[in-house]
Symmetry: C2
Subunit: 330 residues, 2 copies
């Protein structure tokens, strides 16, 4: 592998001049610039990122933490972040936390060792005070998930509103016995709590009391959804509609319901969250709450680069529109 010294030697110039050409510094004559460029091409030279990272500050790499890429929502989010980043000349380093605190910390350490310039977190496992301690090594921001303190820039959706319009839609369809599936455990802060609030608000506004038996927590996958439906079938007093925190769980419910001979939405109305591809694949197609993934990615990169260029930037939240997509499952 050719090094900067090889290029310097071949072009008959110094390493400094070569470095200036690489980095588009001023004060290099056109003639020597040409010489360097020619030598670089001839040798197939590529600067060694390790050396640059070690010496310089900027790595032009942004880290993105997701819980798991097999979740299509996050796959699409990564995708949109990467697209936006590459337009700005940044690379993206993907890390999966697998919902594990230690894995998350391991990834945050990339900031310490200057492997990435900044980190976009799409989920948080550790408490904020743990994460915060890494902030001195580089900017950290949140996209999708959030904490309810103004500690870092956040790209967020109004989850309260999302859950509210979803629940409201069910109420407008005439339902009063509404079940609720959430991904989090009890979620003292962040997405889960806000959705809970939106859901509760919609119901209490029309005087519906929530039946605690119809609350399902820690539901994530299609399998979880199937299991929820089975539980519902065993109840004497069954809900007529169900609000879920993800299209996958909703999908599981729809699939299992059909297997058991239920008609959707007549026997059970189901509403999802995210507007993932699965929502259109299901039969009946899923009514869901759309999260604008592409916008989220774009905005994240925009804000991240702003932070990188101006570390003293004011911390603020960016709220993106959330929208109800009515299809056939309600």
């Amino acid at each position: 592998m050719a090094t900067i010294s090889d290029v310097a030697k071949l072009s008959g110039l110094s390493k400094t001049t070569v470095s200036r050409v690489i980095n588009n510094h001023p004060y290099v004559s056109d003639k020597k610039r040409e010489q360097v460029l020619k030598a670089m091409k001839e040798l197939g030279y590529i600067p060694n990122p390790s050396a640059r990272r070690l010496r310089g500050q900027l790595t032009t790499t942004i880290g993105v933490i997701v819980p798991r890429i097999v979740n299509p929502f996050f796959a699409h989010l990564i995708n949109s972040i990467e697209q936006a980043a590459s337009e700005k000349g940044y690379q993206v380093l993907i890390g999966q936390s697998y919902e594990d605190k230690e894995k998350e910390v391991a990834f945050l350490n990339l900031l310490k060792t200057k492997q990435v310039d900044g980190i976009i977190m799409t989920s948080t496992e550790n408490d904020w005070n743990v994460i915060e301690s890494y902030n001195e090594y580089g900017p950290i921001m949140l996209c999708n998930d959030y904490v309810n303190q103004k500690v870092a820039p956040m790209i967020r959706l109004n989850q309260t509103k999302g859950a509210y319009i979803g629940a409201n839609h069910l109420i407008e369809r005439g339902h009063r016995k509404i079940a609720y599936c959430t991904g989090g455990l009890f979620d003292e802060q962040g997405k889960g709590k806000d959705r809970n609030q939106g859901f509760q608000k919609a119901l209490s506004e029309v005087g519906i009391k929530i039946n605690p038996k119809w609350i399902f927590i820690d539901q994530h996958t299609i399998e979880d959804g199937k299991h929820v439906l089975r539980q519902i079938l065993e109840m004497e007093d069954r809900p007529t509609a169900i609000f879920t925190g993800s299209d996958e769980v909703a999908g599981g419910i729809v699939i299992a319901a059909k297997e058991k001979g239920l008609i959707i939405p007549k026997d059970l109305a189901v509403i999802g969250f995210d507007d993932q591809p699965i929502a259109e694949i299901l039969d009946p197609k899923l009514t869901t709450i759309r999260q604008p993934v592409d916008l989220m990615g774009e905005k994240s990169i925009e804000v991240m680069i702003e932070m990188l260029e101006n570390p003293e930037m004011e911390i603020r939240n960016y709220e993106l529109p959330i929208e109800l997509i009515v299809r056939q499952s309600t």
Copy 2:
């Protein structure tokens, strides 16, 4: 951020000794090892990977190229590779080629600059002679996709057999008018060609001639599948069954067919490929050919590490089982 010198100073020893402790070298007395460990903990020291990469050889990082992570098949493949890698103490660096030759080359360059120890390619965009030129900088292997020369270790499935058993299944169900969707263009080598052969073999064995009007190339997405169905509907002489190169295309066909009032499998039998989650979500559930993603990931890492440890290793192919999953769409 603490450096090795800080640790050396605090423990009252030399950088050399600290380095030996980090790397588990012999010839360090227990007493000094303890001192170093204590100092490391006290400072929250983490070795800087850039510095290690720059000087040393090993990066304990393996690169994986996929076309795009939003394709669930590849998301799962990455996932299984990452799981296996992390068990062996390796990290994984994910690169998306977006089916673009230049992006693929850019990723291969990580090998040149010692950012990764080796690369696992799950798809190939460039000709092998382009890719081969990077082989001198580190091991390259193929997983999923392959070329028909014994140039690099390959983890592959017998695609010919896969297509053969799929087509055969349709024939056994009584179909003689069978359409064919493939992902590749004309695919002079690799997966596409082998599948074509398997498909042709099954048909010609029972004396069926292929109708060129029923061959659809370059089909990848759900949308593509919908489009294929519309084309079929416009034909005077329609196929009664269709073999597709991916569950997504098959899914699109199923969805569009239902919209047009066709009954599957009565009016049209559909068979997919990959056994992705979508196969079980669809209604009717998709008959498909399963690729053992978890096995593929495990085996890839096993072989990659073997290559890293023994560069002179014999090049061979590893064939994994492929299997027909019969559900409701045929």
